[in-house]
């Protein structure tokens, strides 16, 4: 109980001081990784922007700085900019801080390639397969890239979560319900 109150007090103090602890943490990491940009988003949330080819170095730096867990790898498809944004979400038990490591790569399928971080965080194997299944990002060095994951055989290689995937046309073809949809979505009948 006493511990909890102490913690609360600490939190208040930190908010008052404009996230001093997080600032210090970002500074400490950026010193070691000068190629990255970093900022504090809010209490216990920090984020970094890293060039795609330095991601392995950066994650190693994070691991040395007590970011023990990788929570997720998410992909954001920026269609107009022609880029994928990969967000590696890291969690530090020691600092109780969440770090988003963002990096951008081109969204063309043959160019969307990343080095794997499986050897740094073993759990990344799963998330990399996930990103490959839905977006077609190829992680070099992950030998399970070709192994079937969530998607069924029919959707394999279609990368259905890309923004330019024509969902409606695909659904019509797949489920054979041609006459029941309007292309403009304003007059459909179910």
């Amino acid at each position: 109980m006493a511990n909890g109150q102490e913690e609360k007090g600490e939190v208040k103090e930190m908010t008052g001081a404009k996230w001093e602890r997080e600032q210090a943490l970002v500074q400490k990491i950026l010193e070691k990784a000068p190629y990255a940009e970093g900022r504090v988003r809010r209490e216990r949330r920090i984020e970094f922007k890293v060039p795609a080819d330095r991601i392995r170095d950066f994650l190693m730096t994070l691991k040395e700085n007590n970011f023990e867990l990788m929570l997720q790898i998410t992909v954001v498809d920026w269609l107009k900019e022609g880029e994928y944004e990969l967000v590696y979400q890291m969690w530090s038990i020691t600092h109780r801080t969440h770090a988003m490591v963002k990096t951008r790569i081109p969204r063309e399928l043959d160019k969307a390639r990343m080095p794997t971080v499986k050897d740094i965080y073993p759990v990344a194997e799963t998330y990399e397969r996930d990103a490959h299944d839905f977006y077609g990002v190829y992680f070099e060095g992950n030998e399970k890239m070709e192994m079937p994951w969530i998607l069924d055989d029919a959707e394999q290689g279609l990368f259905p979560h890309r923004k330019d995937f024509d969902m409606l046309a695909y659904v019509k073809k797949k489920y054979k319900i041609l006459d029941r949809f309007d292309e403009n979505k304003d007059n459909y009948v179910i």
Binding site: M147, P148, D152, D153, M167, V171, Y188
Partner: protein
């Protein structure tokens, strides 16, 4: 051997009052099951029991949307149940796709693939609605109109055609072998 038609009303009564549910929570409707089974609505009053094994189950509750991947398992599980068996689809997703009407990975009409006896509309249907559906199913069992298992047998070609169109011919074999190359490789490595 023995003419059991005389006892048919007794059997129908037993079937009606002893529906064992196969616990195969496919979608979000699974969360409606705990209140149904526990003290608030208590389905055990009607002799219903959740049951993890399909071989001894009667009622298949499809609780929510069905993806092609789940549908394969549903079909296999459904075919394992002994006749007579009943299917109760739960929510609008199995009925017509619901909010997943344009999703690439949710099937739109469950009754094209397996026969459905009772459909409960709603997103999600409240436990009361589910209980209403179950009551309807009991009535149908009593008057002999819950004949999905008969329809499945009689129209098996049609159902099979629909299934094969969706998954491709020989999907059972393919699905069973899907992971084998990877598993075998792993085994070899261990040695």
């Amino acid at each position: 051997m023995v003419d059991w038609r005389l006892f048919e009303p007794l059997f129908e009564f037993a079937r009606k009052r002893s529906l064992w549910i196969v616990a195969f929570c496919t979608g979000c409707g699974g969360i409606e099951m705990p209140p149904l089974m526990t003290s608030r609505y208590d389905l055990e009053r009607f002799g219903m029991m959740p049951n993890p094994a399909p071989r001894m189950a009667d009622l298949f509750l499809i609780t929510g949307y069905v993806t092609p991947k789940t549908l394969k398992r549903i079909i296999i599980t459904y075919e394992m149940q002994p006749d007579p068996k009943y299917v109760l689809a739960h929510g609008s997703c199995p009925l017509n796709g619901g909010i997943y009407w344009d999703a690439y990975n949710a099937i739109k009409h469950l009754d094209r693939y397996i026969p459905v006896d009772v459909v409960i509309a709603g997103c999600m249907p409240r436990p009361e609605a589910v209980m209403d559906g179950i009551k309807k199913l009991m009535e149908m069992i009593e008057n002999g109109t819950a004949d999905g298992w008969k329809r499945y047998r009689e129209n098996y070609e049609w159902y099979k055609k629909n299934q094969d169109e969706l998954f491709g011919e020989g999907w059972r074999e393919r699905e069973a072998r899907r992971w084998i190359p990877w598993l075998m490789d792993k085994k070899k490595k261990e040695k």
